[in-house]
């Protein structure tokens, strides 16, 4: 399994939960904390993210940055991946 992770810009997240549904790994969940805008933001709830970018693709706030384990063989442009 490829290893990945994500970072959520907590102050941008509006807790819409669309990323949660889009994650094939069920890695995401809402935090119990709320941000200044009053939203419960999203965070990883399992350590099984594969870096598939699905969550980031559907995020309306562009709040998610996705990281993935470097493959040593193939080189790719950071942003164009998977889209």
């Amino acid at each position: 399994m490829i290893r990945g992770t994500i970072k959520v810009a907590e102050e941008s997240c509006k807790g819409c939960e669309l990323c949660i549904g889009a994650c094939p790994q069920d890695s995401l969940g809402l935090s119990d904390k709320i941000n200044v805008k009053g939203y419960r933001f999203v965070r990883l709830v399992q350590d099984n993210c594969t870096g598939c970018v699905n969550c980031a693709l559907v995020c309306p706030e562009a709040a998610i940055t996705v990281y993935r384990q470097k493959k040593t063989t193939v080189k790719r442009e950071p942003v164009a991946v998977g889209v």
Partner: protein, 186 residues
């Protein structure tokens, strides 16, 4: 009381607008003049909502004012906006659980009400705003609690009238809370 100017602010969905309407209705029932002015700013739903209520013995001039006798605040962003707009000697009532940074002003009365906590305790989340309203009215008796109950009949659509007793309960709880804290002047 010649004229009393109130701002009520929070997130949409917290019952901010209807709290204001209830006060205005009650004032009307008590033959006072009242105006209710919602904010109709650019923010989409999900953003903040607020309304200005003015209750007066005589004709109300501007329904929009920038300084208030009272503020009821239900979330942090609104706290930042409202805090400074309360006139010295005025009151600021707020929902305790929503506020991270309580106001630091010492020229106004500040009352933190754990309304949500109380409501959750009773398993009736929706009465939180009535608790706040009760607490506020206990500190500033602009309209009588009886009239508020009467006003509810007008504000609530028919199909929600069965909720009136519940709201009444919330109101009384708030009054009690307001009374018990009447010495706590920040």
């Amino acid at each position: 009381m010649k004229s009393h100017e109130i701002i009520i602010a929070g997130f949409g969905g917290q019952g901010v607008l209807s709290m204001g309407q209830i006060i205005a209705y009650a004032a009307m029932i008590e033959k006072k003049e009242a105006s209710w002015m919602p904010s109709y700013g650019p923010e989409m739903r999900g953003g903040t909502a607020n309304c200005i209520v003015i209750v007066s013995e005589s004709k109300i001039s501007s329904p929009i004012v920038s300084r208030f006798d009272s503020a009821i605040v239900l979330n942090q962003p609104s706290m930042e906006k409202c805090d400074s707009k309360v006139k010295p000697g005025g009151i600021l009532v707020y929902e305790k659980s929503a506020i991270l940074q309580p106001p630091k002003r010492d020229d106004i009365e500040v009352l933190a009400v754990p309304a949500l906590q109380e409501a959750v305790r009773l398993n009736k989340k929706q009465i939180a705003n009535m608790i706040l309203l009760g607490a506020f009215l206990e500190r500033r008796p602009i309209v009588k609690p009886e009239t508020v109950i009467e006003a509810l009949t007008s504000v609530l659509p028919e199909r929600h009238h069965h909720l009136i007793p519940l709201n009444k309960q919330g109101l009384l709880l708030g009054i009690e809370f307001g009374y018990s804290k009447h010495t706590v002047v920040a």
